[in-house]
């Protein structure tokens, strides 16, 4: 059984916060050094929010919690993102 989705599952919620599409960015993990597409993150949704983890070391990259019109976004484990602005 696959427990997780890829990070395209976050596209909708992130598009409400950021003006660029973060799912098309690249990420370098600050814990294990893994470099890969943001969209490759493992996203767990069967929980009280959405949790994205590094596909290499499983470090929590992002936590997203939504209640009505309020959204909490913890990017504490994100590492460095390379974002193409156009």
């Amino acid at each position: 059984m696959t427990e997780y989705l890829d990070a395209n599952a976050l596209a909708g919620a992130l598009s409400e916060v950021f003006s660029v599409d973060l799912t098309s960015s690249w990420r370098r993990c600050s814990v294990c050094g893994h470099t890969g597409a943001f969209a490759e993150l493992h996203v767990y949704t069967d929980c009280p929010g959405q949790v994205a983890r590094c596909p290499s070391c499983q470090t929590v990259v992002l936590r997203l919690v939504r209640s009505g019109d309020t959204l909490w976004l913890d990017l504490g484990g994100t590492g460095c993102l390379r974002v193409e602005l156009r």
Binding site: E3, G49, R53, Q58, V60, V65, S67, W72, G76
Partner: protein, 200 residues
């Protein structure tokens, strides 16, 4: 003739309804919620520790843990994702028993788990017959997807406080938010006051 007909007072509350906190619905199933891969912890490798605010640590092996007085809490559980399950039956060791081995004057606790999960509670909510480390559900060993070999059970708070795959408890002088409490969920989580999110 009155305008309001008989029976317009709404559905009569049953005894079961009275046990369901506001905003919750009942389920007969046992939904599996997980914020990461399911850790596979063998009983041989399993340890449970409590560390006091002074840094002193007491650790139990699986055999030592099972040799402690066992309790069988029968209780209702309430998940913040809005399901509630009545009459669940668990087997485990009361936190009161475990805390007897620790010299502490701490006010707070942070439970931590295999896989990195954490959750914070006032220490008084772990004491007084309100919390257990449980290893069986419905008379069967606790399945890994439900937190086996052992999980915390604190049924008077939302179920995210009942940390799966528990590894230990750190006793603290200050409150330290856990995994979900850092990301918008309520620091305490009383289902009867619907303390779901920050500010509730």
């Amino acid at each position: 003739m009155g305008i309001i007909s008989r029976g317009f007072g709404g559905r009569r509350r049953t005894a079961e309804d009275a046990r369901v906190p506001p905003g919750q619905y009942l389920t007969d199933g046992f939904p599996v919620l997980s914020a990461g891969p399911t850790p596979r912890v063998t009983e041989e490798d399993w340890r449970f520790s409590i560390t006091s605010e002074a840094g002193d640590t007491v650790t139990w092996t699986w055999e030592e843990f099972l040799a402690l007085p066992q309790e069988r809490p029968h209780t209702d559980i309430h998940c913040v994702t809005r399901w509630s399950k009545l009459d669940t039956e668990w087997t485990g060791v009361g936190l009161d028993t475990l805390l007897e081995s620790v010299d502490t004057a701490a006010d707070f606790a942070l439970a931590y788990s295999h896989g990195g999960y954490t959750t914070n509670l006032p220490l008084e909510d772990l004491a007084g017959g309100q919390a257990w480390v449980v290893h069986a559900f419905g008379g069967e060993p606790l399945a890994p997807e439900h937190g086996g070999p052992a999980r915390l059970l604190v049924p008077h708070l939302y179920f995210w406080k009942s940390a799966k795959w528990i590894k230990g408890v750190r006793l603290l002088d200050h409150d330290e938010p856990g995994f979900w409490e850092q990301a918008g969920y309520h620091p305490y989580g009383d289902p009867w006051r619907e303390q779901r999110y920050w500010g509730d």
